[in-house]
Each structure stands twice: as C-alpha cells, then as structure tokens.
Point group: C2
Chain length 404, copies 2
C-alpha cells in the first residue's frame, strides 16, 4: 500500500547537470529553506538529504534546516542518503536524522570496480553493520537499497536482503541507470512483496529513456510503499520523476492516493524552483502554465467556446489557475477578434478582425525580441481608428482574470 512520497530535491536534485548549466552548482541555504518550506506546505512527508560527510557545508545547512523543518512539522521524516559504513552512519545520527537511506550497488561489475570485494564478503560486512545500528538505535528508520536493482541478478539481491530484511524498515530498488520498463517494475515488485511481505518497498526511477514517470506510477499500482521524486524531476543525468507530475498522475488514478497533499501548492512550488534557477518551468513539466497554453488557431477557436475541448485535466486544483492563449503567426481571426474586443475594448466587427488578422500573421513572422506580439497587434488595429467600448474598471479586471 502506498504510504507516501520521498522528496530528494536536496540530494539527487543537487546532482542535476541543470544546476551546472545554470551556474548554480548547488542550492544556497536560503534556497534550501524556501524549497523545504514549499515541500512541507505541499504535505510531503519524507525529505532526503545528503549524508553529512559529503561536505562541511551540507552538514551545517542540514543542522539549520532541521530546526526549521521540525518547528514547522515535527512529523516530517528527515532521511540521510548514506553509505553503509559505521563512520558515515554515526555522523548522520549525530546531526539528528530520523532515518538512513543506506545503499550498495548490486551489480557484479560494481563489486569489482567500486568495492573490490566479493558479494559474500560485502553481505557479511553489511549484515554486521545493520545489526549493530539496529541494536544501538531501535527507532531509527532504516532503508537499504540495492543500487541498480534492475540490472542486479535476482539471486544476488536475495543474498544480501535475506540476511538483513529482519532489521530494516524498507528495501529500496532504485533504477539507478534508467533501464527499467513497466513490465520489469511489476515483476520485481511482485517477487519482493512475496519474499519480504513485512518489509516496505521504495523505488527511484531515473529518466534516461524517458520512462521515469510511468515506472513510478506503475510501482504505486503494483503496491509499493514509497516513491522517490524531486521538484522538476531534477537528479543525476536526465533526472527522475517530477514530484508534481507524480502527484498529478496519482490523483488521476485514485484521489485517495494524494489525500493529505495540498495539491494547489504544486504549481507554486514549480515556480519557486524557476525563480531560484532563473529559468522558466520546463515545457514538458506536467504541472505548468505551458499545459494551459494554446497556440494553434483551431485550438483558440475551440477554447474560446469551451475550454474542456483542449483541456482535459483540471490543473486548477494543482495551482495552475490561469491559462494562456498566445498571439503569434498561427493565430486565427477568432482570437484576434476576442482579444481586441475583450482585452483592448475595441468596438470591432468580425470582418475587421479578419483583415487585421491577415496583416498580423504576415508581420508577426518577423517579430524581434524587442516587440511583443500584443504590441504589434495594437499597432495594426490602431490604423483602423476603431472606437473603444466603455467599461468599468471592476468589470475589466474580472474579465481579464477569467481568461488569463
């Protein structure tokens, strides 16, 4: 049964190449305060951070963040993404994490090239560490992940998990390199649920093939307890499933899955990330104004009559309260007529709108950054010396709010 989302914006999200492309490199403490505050307001119950050993900065930031987060919502589970060694674990416990997301790469190539040890030796070491930690910290939340689970041999996975499953809360099956498909997801989850019925499962799907979202949704349908996500899907390489996209998809499957989340704060959270990175919310992010923006002339006509024709999803509930009908070379006379009448209050006939549209279409092909299409349209319309309709300010604001 689905128990909730684990946000990893401040861990895997800080590993996104987009932070380098935007010359950001990592989030500042101020960014982190804003982002965690947004996550709490949205109702995200679990937040993952770096292990404090990653750097002095990350440690210091976490200590400050922890205080703020706990003051706002003491129930939020704060998890450290932590290598499975006693030194790192003690450091994480010391700074006040509620739980540890421990991990080990499960593939044999990793055993050779990262750990330089056999699976059996690794298993013995891990089991001893996990037992020690569990005895010392009875209430510490412990997840153990088989990194690259979808390329790990099933038997190798069991070799490690069989001896530790009694001491951990959750088994993680991250698709570290993005090779999973929905069928593989269903198969692995059903096998693990059968073998470890009393342990929760958690997934983390990378987007290398563009399948992170469907794999995440499939995992929930297959009965996983926790799914990882991040704002904008930011994570190493091409990222993971986007947090707000996951909430949107889960709500389409069953509203009960997203009970407890303040969905109307989804879009503001995406906009917050945009303001931090100084970028627009990505055009392929499901919860975005882009998904309420219409360009094609045939779409404009329909949207003006009945928005539902090209807006199947109720994005209002995710905080996208406006939509956009953009003026450009594809605009048909319907929108030009509507725009000049409803936004600019020209007393205009449909025939006049058709003539203006022809000129606008031609000239708008050569628009530079300096002239907005709206301005060009007004210039053309003004040549016609059309009278203006008189409207009260209050009525004008109401109409603009209704469309934009």
């Amino acid at each position: 049964m689905f128990k909730g989302i684990i946000d990893t914006t401040l861990r895997d999200g800080q590993q996104s190449p987009l932070l380098f492309d935007s010359f950001k490199y990592s989030f500042s403490l101020e960014d982190k305060i804003k982002l965690t505050s947004g996550l709490l307001d949205l109702g995200v119950p679990n937040i993952e951070f770096f292990s404090p050993i990653v750097s002095e900065h990350e440690r210091r930031d976490f200590v400050k963040l922890r205080k703020k987060i706990k003051a706002k919502n003491p129930n939020t589970k704060l998890l450290a993404h932590c290598r499975c060694n006693l030194k790192d674990i003690e450091e994480a416990v010391k700074v006040g994490f509620d739980g540890l997301n421990l991990y080990l790469n499960g593939t044999s190539q990793a055993h050779v090239h990262i750990y330089n040890q056999s699976l059996v030796t690794l298993k013995t070491e891990i089991t001893s560490i996990i037992k020690t930690v569990r005895e010392k910290y009875a209430n510490l939340y412990l997840r153990f992940s088989i990194e690259d689970a979808f390329r790990t041999k099933e038997q190798d996975m069991y070799t490690i998990l069989d001896t530790i499953s009694g001491y951990i809360n959750t088994i993680g099956i991250p698709d570290t390199v993005g090779v999973a498909t929905p069928n593989a997801v269903r198969e692995l989850i059903s096998k693990l649920k059968l073998r470890y019925p009393h342990v929760d499962l958690e997934c983390h799907f990378h987007n290398d093939r563009g399948l992170a979202m469907i794999n995440t949704v499939t995992a929930v349908e297959a009965g996983i307890s926790y799914v990882d996500a991040s704002i904008w899907g930011l994570a190493e390489r091409s990222g993971i499933a986007s947090l707000t996209g996951v909430l949107f998809n889960l709500s389409e499957i069953d509203k009960a899955l997203v009970k407890g989340y303040n969905l109307n704060l989804c879009y503001p959270l995406n906009v917050l990330m945009g303001s931090i990175l100084k970028l627009q919310v990505p055009y392929n992010e499901p919860v975005s104004i882009t998904n309420r923006t219409h360009i094609a002339g045939v779409h404009h006509k329909a949207i003006l009559n009945s928005p539902k024709i090209y807006e199947a999803h109720q994005l209002q509930q995710f905080g996208v309260t406006k939509n956009q009908l953009l003026l450009g070379p594809l605009t048909g006379w319907n929108l030009i007529y509507y725009y000049l009448r409803e936004f600019e209050y020209y007393d205009i006939s449909q025939d006049q709108a058709k003539v203006i549209t022809r000129e606008f279409k031609q000239l708008s092909k050569k628009l530079s950054k300096k002239v907005r299409p709206e301005k060009l349209l007004i210039q053309i319309a003004d040549k016609f010396k059309l009278p203006k309709i008189h409207l009260d300010r209050e009525y004008i604001d109401y109409r603009i709010e209704n469309l934009t």
Copy 2:
C-alpha cells in the same frame, strides 16, 4: 507492423510554447531548411507540415522546402495537416503535397462547440469529401484522424470510420489532450486492427501527464504502423514524444525497428535545435550529453574505473560521443586527482589531491558565473607548486578524447 516515424516538428512543433518563451514565435525558412535537412540525414521517411492555408508564409516556405527535400530524397513523404474541407484540400494538393493528414475532433463537445453539427451530418459530409478526393487523386496518401481519440466514444469513432475506411490509407488516433495510458493504447489499437485490418494506424501522443514516450513505445509494440514525434518533443502545450527519444527506445526493444535510420545523427539534430532556439538541449531529453554527465562523487569514482557502472545505454551510437564529469561541490578526491593528473598534468599524490579537494569543496559553493569550477581548482592546486608531468601533445589529445 511498424513502418516509420512521422516527424511533425514543422507543424505541431511550431505550436510549442517554447517558441514563444524563446521569442522565436516560428521557425524561419533558414531554420526549416536546416531542420528538414537534419531529418532527411537521420532517415526520417515522413514529414508533416501545416496546411498551406495557415498563412502565406507557411505556403511559400513549403514550396521552397519541397524542392530542396525532393532533390535530396525524392522518396520522403510530405504531408499536410489539413482540415477536411475541399477548399483546404485543393490548396494542399496544388502546392505539391504527397499526402494529407485530415482530421476531425471526435468528441461530442467538439461537435457542438467547434462544428455546430451532428455526428451523422459530419459523417455524411466527410464521406462525400473523402470519396471525391480519392476519385480525383488515386495516389494521394490519405490519413484520417479522429482527434481526441481517447476521449471519443467507440461507437462514434466507428460511425465515421466505417464509411471511409475503404478510401483512406491510414486511421489516426491522436491523443490530442494527453489522457491516454499504456493500457488504453493497447486496447484501442487491438480493437481498430480487428475492425479495419487493411488500414494502417497512426498515433500522436501528447505529454500532458508525462506519458507520451511510453504510450508511443506501447503503440509500436501493439503493432501500429506510424508514430508521430518531433525534435525535442516540441508541440502544443507540453509537447509529444521526442523523435530521438523514440528512436532510442525502439532500438532498445528491437534493433530491426530502427533499421534505415542513421542513429548517430540523433544527437547532432538535438544540438541543431538548441542552436536555433539558443537553448541547451533539455535536461530530460534521452539523447543528450546530460545523460552522459556525472556529478556525484561516488559516481565519479566508479566511472573512472568502469563507465558501464553508471552508463547502461550505448549513447555513442546516437551520436553522443563524449561524456562529462563535472567539477563542483560534490566532487570527490578521485576525480580531483584524476583531473589534475590527466587533464592538467600535475605530478600529484593522492594525499595532496585529498587536501585540495577539501578546499575546493568549500570554495566551490560560492562560485559565481564568472569563475568556472575548473579555474578555481587550478588556482587551489597552484598554491601547492606541484611539478608538471611531461607528455607529448599527441598522447595528451588521445587521453582527453577518451574522457571528455
């Protein structure tokens, strides 16, 4: 059986809000020449354009493009996305299209709000038009699409298709508003294949929920003939499946599906779009250098030992011939050591690298746009007055080519 991709970058792609966000509004003729040339080099067999009635510009551009495309590859099928009325159809035929992508919105709300006609009236009109066109142009390729197919009542779809299926080459089932799921895709395709066994099927999945890619791949697995895609997935709202992402996924399923495509030109095509829009290739595009970029310290160590540990897919074959290990606050000493020795030729010990790493991690948190992380690292390293290793230029170039 899968017959090929239909690229719609110059039709639905020009309806992407990203063209407005980048102050581009539409592609120039020069852009279009570059893009179609890239599509032909890649081996894309079908290209969709606007109906010439959209604007004088689009018509003129098409006439020029057609000449260039046919000179390069006379077999490329050029298709007009065309309303189903005789006037528009004649205009498209006149400018030399090889085929028409006709469409009608199938939902009852559209019949009321767009066409203001009953389904039966619409059916009679469409059937008459299609028969007329087929009689007049025996060899013209004709697709007829039920727009918003996944919200259209099954019986309404049959009402239209039953009377025209004998006159058309292909039935289109676009998911115009992005509501489809893989199960719905499998179900609809299997029903239509059974009912219209001699007609090809074509799909076009919008990405409103982030499921465009899996729906497209699922359609191919379910035996569809044609799938729509565009460069970067650009299209109305949050777009459709990305062309190169589709090729990547299909090649993972079965190499035979992508026979005839010059896959190594995938990445250059994505870069071409970036140069036109003056934007980086999106971080969530499957065929991108982003998907070969590693930030996390633990990943760096593994990649230096054996790239396959964190690079499951052979992106070289798609033209991504380099990878990137980026220096930043998360960099471990392994990469610092490797970078200073292999790129900058310092004679450095591992212990020295560890000390330098500590300082670099601290200072790199505060990097501004003006200082690149590489420069900062050299500044720190130079304080140690390390000697340089002498290497022949040829050897240096070889090593750099191997890593970057």
